[in-house]
């Protein structure tokens, strides 16, 4: 066990005595925990910048923000290795950041620059990185769910132990591809972990108006698939713990899991939609915001004496400068040349 963890453990014991705190830090090092804090904060501030740039007309098309769901990206991707795969739908900025894509290139993509993750071809909904094993943001609901099983299939085919994390919204569990993919993944024992980010609504439709089963993880039962619900989806540690268990299980047995994570999106469905509209009340949004993943984690880090006011202030500064750097990078980038229109249509 690395020394840092021993120190942490003693700190924890200390805190427990002092505050009667029950927080189990799951043997994670302070470095990792602080890195997670920074990452969640980066996702939050990055998205706020996107909202601002969208409002200024610099980002076009559909742009779906991740505010409120940060603990899922950080906790889940914190449980895998860089060579494991991640795939998701169009609400992909946060997951891409967690998977290690350069936030400067993500922002450049959103602004349609040649330095973007797909040279300006995909935009916000279609971030990709072969290098980082990020198999995409995908804009057709449910279309990516079988692809995840495909990546897992390839891993098993090559006798690798790589797993694939596949994220989707609650609404996506109602489309046929979800069911076909889950059946196949379970039938063929493919090392894929399906993670439903249940933010209670698909656009303006509440879960119970769209799904006959409102405990979405139970859909796995039809395919005899391991499943779990993570009620505290705003707690990065809880997300990590469950995803880690599913990943370990997949590496050992090749068996898939379906995890349902309870969460909430703070913004409208996309930047062109109202924040609450008629389908949810302002009070509901405000109530849910009290379960803020970043604030909660701040509390945990404070209670366990891993970070103090000073740390949080300096983190805020550091993240601000990263976001500023993203903007500067983007502003210094140019749009793709017109010849780029004809490239990448067929592989050589």
């Amino acid at each position: 066990m690395p020394e840092s963890i021993n120190i942490l453990q003693s700190k924890m014991n200390h805190t427990k005595l002092k505050n009667n705190m029950q927080t189990d830090l799951l043997g994670l090092s302070p470095e990792i925990l602080l890195k997670w804090y920074d990452e969640m904060l980066l996702i939050r501030r990055f998205e706020e910048k996107c909202a601002q740039l969208y409002g200024m007309g610099k980002i076009g098309g559909f742009c779906h923000l991740y505010n409120g769901q940060e603990a899922i990206a950080t906790g889940s991707i914190g449980a895998i290795n860089p060579d494991d795969y991640v795939i998701t739908a169009y609400r992909d900025h946060g997951l891409a950041i967690s998977k290690g894509l350069d936030p400067r290139r993500i922002l450049a993509e959103l602004l349609g620059k040649s330095t973007g993750t797909t040279k300006g071809k995909g935009g916000s909904m279609h971030l990709f990185s072969r290098e980082k094993n990020f198999l995409g943001g995908h804009a057709i609901v449910g279309g990516h769910i079988p692809l995840a099983a495909g990546a897992a299939f390839a891993s098993k085919y090559r006798d690798e132990k790589r797993v694939c994390l596949c994220f989707m919204g609650d609404g996506a569990t109602n489309i046929g591809e979800f069911h076909e993919a889950l059946n196949l993944a379970a039938l063929w024992k493919l090392p894929v972990i399906y993670i439903i980010e249940n933010n209670k609504y698909g656009m303006g439709t509440a879960v119970d108006r769209a799904s006959a089963v409102d405990e979405l993880h139970l859909k796995a039962a039809a395919y005899n698939m391991r499943n779990e619900v993570i009620e505290e989806g705003h707690n990065v540690l809880k997300v990590y713990q469950s995803v880690k268990a599913a990943v370990d299980h997949a590496r050992k047995t090749y068996e898939p899991s379906l995890l349902e994570v309870q969460t909430f999106r703070y913004r409208g469905h996309s930047m062109s939609d109202p924040i609450h509209g008629h389908y949810r009340t302002k009070e509901e949004v405000e109530e849910q915001k009290k379960l803020d993943p970043i604030t909660l984690f701040m509390g945990i880090l404070t209670d366990t004496n891993l970070a103090s006011e000073d740390y949080f202030n300096s983190a805020e500064e550091r993240i601000k400068s990263i976001v500023d750097e993203c903007v500067a990078f983007t502003e210094n980038s140019s749009e793709p040349p017109l010849e780029e229109l004809y490239t990448d249509v067929y592989a050589d």
């Binding site: 279609h126 057709i140 698909g202 303006g204």
Partner: protein, 327 residues
């Protein structure tokens, strides 16, 4: 004559047909409580209730199939796709069940259903969300394909579509929903297969439809008029059936044809028009037929490449000058 938006025109058509015929109902994602992703069904839930204005889960294959099944036994569904791009998830239902049912069942079951929603590119929506799919659907025998370019046609053609006893692919345009135009007072329908001469001319015939007609072709035609090039502009309004006589007669007069469409070039609607015209008007043509289409690539997100790929005014002017041997 009243002036309404394209959106309101579609809304009126559905409203009037639902009032007229109990069997008509509307189904799709966000059509009821949200009043439609693009507000085309605004107010219909309040008026007709949840039995006839139905929100669906994101399950295109499922709800398209439910629509088709209910149509086989006597209902007249309108199925809204939030965008035609999502119809691809329901492709099997539309192509194998809706299109073929009458023929395959030897006349036992017809499928009176309308599939409708916005098609084509809006702005910066990237490859999966920007497709012009009319040529794809027009390929299948058994489907009718309708593409109104203005509020008047949108209303009249949608009413005809709802009354038609066959599956109708009704493709609207997201960027036209707010655009206004005059519509006739009171009840009217527009029959399928009757095109519209948008502007009379003598030098060149252009066939174009939907948003591209409004946003690109008409503007190019006005510019050409300033250069004293007189274009006869034809809006076929329905892709299938196509008003061939209208096109042939125009080409016989102008002896030149340009087709302007949003879709890809290969096996596009323009390819079919080009074939029919060269077959029926061969002796009248003074120049090879020109086509303006999108470039043969998936549409990128970024504005400059998007604009470069889609038809634009310059491309139309160039094509017209080419058939007139002016360059």
């Amino acid at each position: 004559m009243p002036v309404v938006s394209y959106r309101e025109a579609l809304n009126q058509a559905m409203d009037e047909e639902m009032a007229r015929d109990e069997r008509v109902f509307l189904m799709g994602e966000e059509v009821a409580q949200y009043n439609g992703a693009y507000k085309v069904s605004q107010g219909l839930l309040a008026k007709y209730g949840p039995k006839r204005i139905i929100d669906t889960p994101i399950a295109e294959a499922g709800f398209a199939g439910i629509g088709i099944g209910s149509a086989m036994v006597g209902l007249r569904p309108i199925v809204e796709f939030m965008s035609w791009n999502f119809s691809l998830v329901a492709f099997d239902q539309i192509v194998n069940n809706a299109a073929k049912m009458l023929s395959m069942s030897g006349g036992n079951f017809n499928v009176p259903i309308v599939f409708r929603g916005p098609g084509g590119a809006a702005h910066n929506l990237a490859a999966t969300h920007s497709q012009a799919l009319e040529s794809l659907y027009a390929h299948f025998p058994g489907l009718k394909v309708v593409m109104p370019s203005n509020p008047r046609d949108a209303k009249g053609l949608l009413k005809t579509a709802i009354r038609d006893n066959n599956p109708v692919i009704f493709i609207e345009s997201e960027v036209m929903y707010g655009e206004k135009g005059e519509i006739p007072e009171g009840e009217y329908t527009i029959p399928f297969g009757t095109g519209d001469i948008v502007r009379e001319g003598k030098d060149v015939t252009i066939v174009s439809w939907s948003k591209i007609l409004q946003h690109i072709t008409t503007k190019a035609v006005s510019r050409l008029a300033e250069e004293n090039i007189s274009v006869e502009l034809i809006d076929p309004r329905t892709i299938k059936p196509m008003d061939w006589e209208l096109i042939f007669n125009s080409v016989k007069k102008t002896n030149r044809l340009v087709i302007v469409e949003e879709g890809w070039p290969f096996a596009g609607v323009g390819a079919q028009i080009s074939h029919e015209v060269s077959n029926h008007c061969f002796d009248f043509l003074d120049a090879p037929i020109e086509r303006v289409t999108q470039e043969d690539v998936p549409l990128p997100y970024v504005h400059n490449l998007e604009v470069a790929s889609l038809p634009n005014i310059q491309k139309v002017i160039r094509a017209v000058r080419k058939v007139m041997y002016l360059d």
